[in-house]
Symmetry: C2
């Protein structure tokens, strides 16, 4: 995919082990209007702290990302490593340090191999244009089994623009933020007054609506850069163009978020949890997250066991307002329970059939109000345990 005014490079720095491109650069020919969302974890990696400071300018021109090492729990040395990297890159690119974002993902608690990064940086800059955005999606993978990207095109007054995104993440995935990196770039021109608000609400409906294992990482970063190189007119707040852009952005983010869940560590199922009838949307989301994070619900999905009682139990302890006698539940369109009890008939057989599918939907109606929420999750399998028991080796 080609997005005007952006160039990419990726090289091998052997950060964790040799044999793959593990450090990458996304560069915009002009400073891009930018917005970012970072992990809510209070133990934040050094690159997150530095990038959060830099994004305050509302602009970004270059994003440096490495996999294999998270540069988290690395103290003062971690911060000086992040600063040195950003500063070295800024000087090679001859741009202000404030325009640099740095991201790291991988093992926690190990200092970055700075010598290898210092060696890699000059070629990252000199080789700009040597790879595509999809190659960067590969360079940022850790336990991911496939590279994640998504692209859509819009148009304003006959001038087309592109929104393209990549993401990584397969475990330590939980809202606010899910454990992941995602970089969205567009050659649209977006009003600085609009970009933050659009981006935050789009993230809320996508990356903040997925959970794999309930763990929130130290490094989550989601960045949007809009460089205006398409030549399409500036997108201003409260216009039809803003609505179109928002809708395309939503689609790209949701597509990437779903790809992350499908690649969930050891996942054999992709499950959409829809809660309706809650007293408000925020209570609905709490209930959906509680169901999606329940180890007992997730193992039942893995075992293809239509154990709807565990879902009611997870809603019961989610802390929201519940009237057990009003609960109803469906697997796809099969009603398993209504008024809090088993629906009867052949629901058990039909529900079990649904759970044998690879993708299905769980809908719970709380019967109280108008609150709704949708969350995407995976099952909990033997493979998840295997992957995470040996992650560092």
């Amino acid at each position: 995919m080609f997005i005007k005014g952006f160039r990419f490079s990726a090289v091998e720095a052997a950060i964790k082990r040799p044999g793959r491109k593990d450090i990458a650069l996304i560069y915009s020919e002009v400073p891009a209007t930018a917005a970012a969302v970072f992990t809510t974890n209070k133990v934040k990696a050094a690159p997150v702290l530095l990038s959060a400071k830099n994004i305050a300018s509302g602009q970004c021109q270059a994003l440096l990302v490495n996999s294999g090492n998270a540069n988290a729990c690395t103290g003062e040395r971690g911060m000086s490593d992040a600063i040195e990297t950003a500063s070295m890159l800024a000087s090679k690119l001859q741009i202000s340090e404030k325009l640099i974002q740095v991201c790291s993902t991988g093992v926690i608690g190990v200092p970055l191999p700075m010598e290898r990064i210092r060696t890699a940086l000059p070629s990252l800059v000199s080789e700009l244009g040597n790879v595509s955005l999809e190659d960067i999606a590969e360079a940022i993978m850790t336990t991911d089994t496939f590279a994640k990207s998504s692209v859509l095109t819009g148009a304003i007054e006959g001038k087309s623009y592109t929104i393209a995104g990549i993401a990584k993440g397969a475990g330590m995935i939980m809202p606010n933020m899910a454990t992941m990196l995602s970089f969205i770039i567009t050659d649209a021109a977006v009003d600085p007054a609009l970009i933050n608000q659009i981006f935050l609400s789009s993230v809320e409906r996508s990356f903040n609506a997925i959970t794999i294992d309930g763990d929130t990482s130290t490094n989550d970063t989601c960045l949007l850069m809009a460089n205006g190189a398409s030549g399409a007119p500036l997108i201003k707040p409260a216009t039809p163009e803003a609505a179109q852009f928002t809708s395309l952005l939503d689609s790209v983010l949701l597509d990437l978020a779903k790809q992350i869940v499908k690649d969930g560590e050891g996942a054999t199922k992709f499950v959409e949890i829809r809660i309706k009838g809650a007293s408000n949307d925020s209570e609905a989301k709490k209930a959906a997250i509680s169901v999606a994070n329940s180890s007992l619900v997730k193992t039942a999905f893995y075992g293809q066991d239509a154990n709807w009682g565990r879902i009611f139990a997870a809603i019961g302890y989610s802390g929201i307002e519940v009237n057990p006698d009003l609960l109803a539940l469906w697997f796809d369109d099969v009603c398993m329970a209504k008024q809090g009890i088993f629906a009867g008939g052949n629901a058990e057989e039909r529900g079990t059939e649904i759970l044998h599918k690879k993708d299905f939907t769980v809908t719970v109606d709380l019967g109280i109000g108008d609150g709704t929420a949708t969350v995407y999750t995976s099952d909990l399998s033997h493979e998840y345990v295997s992957i995470n028991a040996d992650y560092r080796t």
Copy 2:
């Protein structure tokens, strides 16, 4: 074990399948002063609702418990089944219905097989004395691999008394309450003004300090009955006797709670999580629970991987006050990290050795205040997934 004035019976009612005693009765010859703690799940099983109503009297003389069926998510029929069972038992025993507690554990969402229970009740009463308390611990097992009991003896003015407890629970274990049943009986005489307060604080330090999978069930019940049959003098508030009784009760409950964790579904490790230096005890407990419930921390324990960074991450997202630069962590007495970063030296090798033990302690010092908490947990293994993928079959 023998506890004066109590008799027990257990018979086979084939509630889930034939071949074991699955319904049991604990009976005190006189009404016992009693206290109980029930699940905080808002989806409560019928027997929980009925027992919570009955315990308001402050007394209990008979406890009926079945395994194989939770009588949860069974609606009006579930409640009328619970009431009918209690009422039939009261009439057979010729005591008031208010003195009956009923407990159920097992599959959610399936009505009780009432005909089989009606058939079993008369023999439960006529055969009172046919089994010991340990046999009841067996009758209430579900996925438990061993029966759990604990007993201690105290004395007042030369008169001895006994505190004996049994418990079941191996999965769906999370504080408030852990998914479990536990029945504590004593022939001590305890002042009604004292019993609730002692019991609640003892439960807080034991059953509410364990977690296996973060799931809270619909049926948790913990009951204490004190019938005074030992002849030892009445234990009154704010006396040395009350202190002795509390300390013995604490020990029995903590012993049972630890047995539950050791029998955690698929558990290969028993881990004590100690948090100190938090801004207060409640923040310390939040941090401890967050670490104990993290799937990534638990799989690292299973994989015997000294991945301390995941523990810092779990503290970081627990919602408490954290200064990452002050964090320190030990596996047993091996310091893995201090001032937020790796401790260096041979910590990796020594920490890995500790994680190869079956029991070990994780201590985290937050370095902020005086708050402390201890929580007990197990690891997350392939076997946990296997057990819960096929629970109903």
